[in-house]
């Protein structure tokens, strides 16, 4: 298989315009003859579904929650980047492009990133027009703040609830279309199979989560907007229902999965308090604008933070990276926290955290101003830890947050299965090996509002798709597969709960394939995951029946997929014998302990082909060339 990225030729700043012009259009009257299935209603899914329906397509939308407004984009806090250059501080499309490629440690596709930067300004226009209440200056203009990995202020925000406001904007556009009858909404549905007929994606098979019924839906194209796979680590900042199942099933049907080892560990999360914990809570990295990260200089210093004099504190990010200071990118901040903790300088009862201190900012700006900027984050921290961050420094620890890897897509966002598109966090395309803060919202909305409305038409006009419907044999086969799998899960009747397996898998992933990885431990992880998978199918216990609302059954299905996917993630990490972005191999580091890339051998996207459970997947490489941003060691000092 040769991976064709379909990146148009010509200078980078002209590629997208040229491609839009050269892509064939669907006549307005013909659009309503096409059925498009959109799975997932986060920023990517909701914006795509609404935009396609506005154009005239027949859209069906599926989500796992009770309402499309619950999708996990809602939890994004800090903001959304756009190259508006309102602050007049030197930003431009080119600089956002450059920062994103560099921030991704030169492992993203240049043309996609450039397009992302190009459409970023239109996203802000669109959201403002929808009534998204972004923060404003007294004069009425939009406010900006700075974020990690950038030296300009290009982040737009709505308090600490930017994701919520943007998602509600996209959701409102979607609801408008549902009201007009151009979109049919199917909540509480879980996609459990992709239907491929004559080599093209033609539909999905879902389980109705309320009744247990298996339902089939046919269409001319399928858009997977199903988010990231961070929950493979069990503890992450993801929502409880975030899962890899939709993309994993597509992978098993032939969609290549790219760069699964690129997982982002977010530096500012609330530390773990005990075994009962079901998730980790992130606090926006915007906190690093005013908070200073430090640990005591002395190992095992158990004094309370306010009694430790300035001279005995190590503001290690400011010391090591004077020009970016506390605003280094996430991967750098997380790794440094880990190394401080490994040196025995961690703080708190468990020693598994570092301080994020606002005392200086409170002195400088006043508590009122800090409250206005971060009030909800401070309240959240206070609630969870029972400590008041206005009085004592926050304690933070890194946690799994975002998946840069995902289904491989070409410039049109189409996977290796014709007619199957993948948008947002679920695809691999724009962030390389590390995503910069406030860029996830940008990418989700770019894909949905401004990319897929153009590229989908190109596919539909250039492809002859025979008539099909949900009664065809391809659908019946998949319905049978779903029913059999459900039956299998219910029949094991072992002793351990699905969550119990999930926790064990998460521990393997975090210990062996977390913030730092090495060959021996990765090999160990592969065999441990395989053994756990085998045990799962012998010893899992799923109670109640299929024909009802059964959350234990839902969870079991997702854990079963994670047990397969986890192995692929580890294999990818093992094969990539370099360190880059969120993937840090202990064997490959600079003398200062920074990630050391190997551009001669690893400047490619690793796209894996499924060959069977427990079988070694086949690697396909998409070479990455950098014609516009020069390959350089990422340096934030």
């Amino acid at each position: 298989m040769i991976l064709d990225s379909k990146v148009p030729d010509g200078p980078i700043e002209k590629k997208w315009d040229k491609h839009k012009f050269e892509t064939k259009l669907v006549n307005p009257a013909n659009k309503r003859k096409y059925d498009v299935l959109v799975v997932g209603t986060g920023l990517a899914g909701a914006s795509a579904a609404a935009s396609l329906a506005e154009l005239g397509y027949n859209v069906k939308v599926f989500c796992i929650q009770d309402s499309p407004r619950r999708a996990h984009s809602i939890a994004a806090q800090g903001g959304i980047n756009a190259a508006k250059n309102y602050p007049n501080d030197g930003d431009s499309v080119w600089r956002l492009f450059y920062d994103t490629v560099k921030g991704g440690d030169f492992r993203a596709r240049e043309a996609n990133v450039y397009r992302l930067a190009q459409v970023s300004a239109s996203i802000i226009d669109q959201c403002v027009a929808q009534g998204v209440p972004f923060a404003r200056e007294y004069g009425g203009t939009l406010s900006n703040r700075s974020f990690g990995g950038a030296q300009v202020s290009r982040t737009f925000y709505a308090r600490g609830q930017t994701g919520q406001q943007l998602l509600l904007g996209a959701y409102s556009a979607l609801m408008r279309q549902v009201g007009q009858g151009t979109v049919s909404m199917y909540p509480r549905r879980e996609m459990l199979e992709l239907v491929v007929e004559n080599g093209a994606a033609r539909g999905i098979v879902c389980r109705n989560l309320v009744t247990g019924e298996v339902e089939s839906y046919a269409g001319h194209a399928v858009l997977l907007c199903t988010g990231g796979y961070g929950n493979v680590f069990y503890l992450s900042t993801n929502a409880a229902s975030c899962n890899v199942s939709a993309t994993w099933r597509a992978h098993k049907h032939g969609a290549l999965f790219a760069n699964p080892c690129y997982t982002q560990i977010h530096p500012t999360c609330i530390p773990v308090s005990g075994d009962h914990q079901s998730k980790l809570t992130l606090m926006s990295e915007s906190l690093r604008n005013d908070g200073r990260v430090w640990v005591p200089k002395k190992k095992g210093d158990k004094r309370s933070p306010e009694t430790i004099p300035e001279a005995e504190r190590d503001y290690y990010l400011e010391r090591k990276y004077p020009s970016f200071g506390n605003l280094v990118p996430r991967d750098v901040a997380s790794r440094n926290a880990k190394s401080m903790i490994d040196e025995g300088k961690g703080v708190g009862e468990t020693g598994l955290s570092v301080y994020l201190d606002f005392s200086e900012a409170i002195k400088r700006l006043g508590a009122e101003k800090i409250k206005e900027k971060y009030g909800n984050l401070f309240d959240m921290y206070h609630h969870i830890t029972d400590e008041d961050p206005y009085k004592v420094p926050m304690r933070i620890y890194p946690a799994v947050h975002y998946a840069m890897g995902g289904l491989w897509v070409d410039y049109n966002l189409m996977t290796t299965i014709p007619g199957l598109f993948c948008l947002g966090e679920a695809n691999f395309s724009d962030h390389g090996a590390n995503r910069l803060g406030a860029s996830a919202l940008m990418q989700g909305l770019a894909d949905g509002y401004f990319v897929i409305p153009y590229t989908l038409g190109g596919y539909l006009t250039s492809t002859k798709l025979p008539k099909t419907d949900a009664s065809s044999p391809a659908f019946k086969d998949m319905e049978k597969a779903v029913a059999e799998r459900t039956k299998k899960l219910l029949c094991v009747n072992g002793k351990r709960t699905p969550s119990d397996f999930h926790k064990e898998l998460g521990k393997i992933m975090w210990d062996k394939c977390g913030m730092a990885r090495n060959e021996n431990e990765l090999k160990e992880a592969i065999s441990k995951i395989a053994a756990l998978r085998e045990q799962f199918w012998k010893d899992v216990k799923v109670t109640a029946s299929n024909e009802e609302f059964n959350q234990t059954l839902e969870r079991a299905g997702r854990v079963a997929d994670y047990l397969e996917f986890g192995e692929l993630l580890v294999r990818d990490a093992l094969h990539r014998k370099e360190s880059c972005g969120g993937h840090f191999r202990e064997e490959y580091q600079t003398p200062d302990g920074e990630a050391k890339r190997d551009d001669a051998n690893f400047s490619y996207a690793a796209a894996w082909e499924f060959k069977g459970v427990g079988q070694e997947p086949v690697l396909h490489k998409e070479p990455l060339t950098f014609e516009n941003v020069h390959l350089a060691e990422r340096n934030y000092a």
């Binding site: 914006s47 935009s51 506005e54 929650q65 009770d66 309402s67 619950r70 999708a71 996990h72 809602i74 939890a75 309102y86 239109s122 802000i124 669109q126 403002v128 027009a129 929808q130 009534g131 998204v132 209440p133 404003r136 007294y138 009425g140 203009t141 308090r159 609830q161 919520q164 509600l168 959701y171 409102s172 609801m175 408008r176 009201g179 309320v210 929502a239 308090s273 005990g274 009962h276 914990q277 079901s278 809570t281 992130l282 609630h383 969870i384 029972d386 509002y449 401004f450 002793k495 709960t497 969550s499 119990d500 216990k541 109670t543 109640a544 009802e548 609302f549 059964n550 959350q551 234990t552």
Partner: protein, 249 residues
């Protein structure tokens, strides 16, 4: 801590439900209420029993998926907090806690503690949007909005659509939910063209879904995890009255 739980169990929408007693042993004060229920459920599954069904997703107080009426209060005793962020340190060893679903005619039961809140989506479909197609937007700074107006709109927009206001209201009214959305758009220039139409349509949709009317109990504000103010209802009433009297449509 050791606690006694009385949990509403109901197999399906058409089955009768009842309170069933469970004991929760060794509960840590750092657990969230939902993590405590997770632990109880793990025990039930191991015993071969059906786990207690309840909705939750983000578990950080923003998605609005979690619900529960805890000791008679939607989202429990702590003000301004969703159930997922209610911590067990709020309770004491030996407490008996009654856990029920959000109850309202417009929120039909799904199972146990989960209910169907799709009525909210249908109200939104009636007018909870600005009609602007993708690509049709003017430059973002073309409309200036003063800082305090943007902040006020944001206060209203913070609604997470959980439905606690409905569960708390003796009339099961959705006024606070609808008012928050109407207010957000009424305050912003983007919302002006559809201002009257929106107030009328959303109000009508709310009534059609079977939600009750507002009789100024203020229970909604007390229960709201995002502390949305009843002053939004006052604004919505003004909007609705103006629209009813002066609408051009």
């Amino acid at each position: 801590m050791n606690l006694t739980l009385k949990v509403w169990r109901q197999k399906g929408p058409n089955d009768a439900g009842k309170l069933v007693e469970y004991s929760a042993q060794g509960v840590s004060p750092d657990m969230s209420f939902l993590e405590m229920l997770d632990v109880v459920n793990e025990g039930l599954i191991k015993k071969g029993e059906d786990a207690i069904a309840f909705d939750s997703d983000c578990r950080e107080g923003i998605c609005g998926m979690c619900s529960l009426v805890i000791n008679g209060q939607p989202h429990g005793p702590e003000l301004g907090t969703a159930t997922c962020q209610l911590h067990m340190r709020t309770f004491s060893d030996g407490d008996t806690i009654v856990v029920e679903p959000f109850r309202a005619r417009a929120f039909p039961p799904v199972k146990d503690l989960a209910v169907d809140r799709s009525a909210f989506d249908r109200i939104m479909q009636a007018g909870g949007y600005v009609s602007v197609n993708t690509g049709n937007a003017p430059e973002a700074n073309a409309n200036l909005i003063s800082h305090h107006v943007a902040e006020k709109a944001m206060d209203a927009a913070a609604c997470i659509g959980c439905g606690a206001c409905v569960a708390a209201c003796p009339n099961a009214s959705a006024m606070l939910f609808v008012a928050a959305k109407v207010s957000q758009y009424a305050l912003l220039p983007q919302g002006q063209p559809e201002r009257t139409r929106r107030a009328l349509k959303m109000r009508e949709a709310m009534d059609d879904e079977g939600f009750g009317n507002c009789s100024n109990e203020y229970a909604c504000e007390a229960a709201c995890p995002k502390e949305i103010k009843v002053s939004n209802i006052a604004r919505f009433n003004r909007e609705h009255l103006k629209a009813s009297v002066c609408s051009e449509e």
